[in-house]
């Protein structure tokens, strides 16, 4: 579980940073007539987003999330800044309780 969380977090931050570079550096330069940055960073973000999708989805399945939080998590990689906000939200709302739940030895007693 910890490994899945780490993979998701790394990809959330990397994808988020690259997307911010694309939107706040690449697009203005493209508008100003220099499309090279937007093109290159765009392709990099495209590839990173595929990896982000896979890791985010694997974690969502591990956490057994409902449809809505899963979709929010997956689409966060396409909206600037959203990955950071969603990562914090997912951590507080789902990851921390899940890690706490995993550590508790009470479940075998109940079964």
């Amino acid at each position: 579980m910890e490994a899945a969380v780490l993979r998701y977090r790394v990809m959330a931050y990397v994808t988020g940073v690259v997307l911010m570079v694309l939107c706040f550096v690449g697009i203005p330069l493209q508008v100003a007539g220099h499309p090279a940055v937007a093109n290159d960073v765009g392709v990099v973000h495209g590839i990173l987003y595929i990896i982000y999708l896979v890791f985010a989805w694997l974690l969502a399945r591990r956490l057994k999330l409902a449809v809505r939080p899963t979709v929010i998590m997956l689409l966060a990689g396409t909206v600037p800044i959203m990955t950071f906000i969603v990562e914090r939200w997912v951590s507080r709302r789902f990851i921390s309780p899940a890690l706490a739940g995993e550590a508790r030895p009470a479940a075998p007693v109940g079964r």
Binding site: G46, P97, A103
Partner: protein
């Protein structure tokens, strides 16, 4: 699909499931799920359409579009796999072959508050423990165990934050 889920839905009994009698697959036509179906169909065709658009751009000499020509259909395929797995999971939950994640999550969310360890024990067992120990001995043991659980949870919480 079979009709065996009828009984399961009644037994596992979250209110939403109890309100919907009939075969298990009926949940697929609930308004909430219909909304998701529409969302998935629209996004699937939308992504294929984007791929087609990029393909035509690529043919006119935009080399960058070749990457997106393959990327969009990949996303569309991912959406289909995602949706299929989601629906399969929902069937399993409603047939009682898988614990309801919402119930599990709600239970887990309560834990950080402190000594909620007893919540994890099924209702039958709680009453068995309580009826089996009229004197204070076992209760003391139980509260000591709960304190131990709370400590473990606190530790786990710290790890989660780092």
């Amino acid at each position: 699909m079979d009709n065996t889920g009828h009984g399961d839905a009644a037994v596992t009994g979250t209110p939403a499931q109890a309100q919907a009698p009939g075969p298990v697959w009926r949940f697929l036509v609930q308004p909430r799920w219909l909304g998701w179906h529409v969302f998935m169909v629209v996004s699937f065709w939308g992504m294929l359409w984007m791929g087609d658009w990029q393909f035509h751009r690529a043919l006119t000499g935009n080399a960058l579009s070749w990457a997106y020509t393959f990327e969009w259909p990949l996303f569309a395929g991912f959406a289909v796999v995602f949706w299929a797995k989601t629906i399969r999971d929902e069937f399993r939950i409603r047939r009682g072959q898988m614990p309801d994640p919402r119930a599990v999550a709600a239970e887990a969310a309560l834990l950080p508050a402190g000594v909620t360890g007893t919540l994890q024990v099924p209702a039958g067992q709680v009453s068995a423990v309580q009826s089996g120990s009229p004197d204070g001995d076992e209760d003391e043991e139980l509260s000591a165990y709960n304190a131990y659980l709370a400590r473990l949870n606190a530790d786990a919480q710290d790890h989660g934050r780092r």
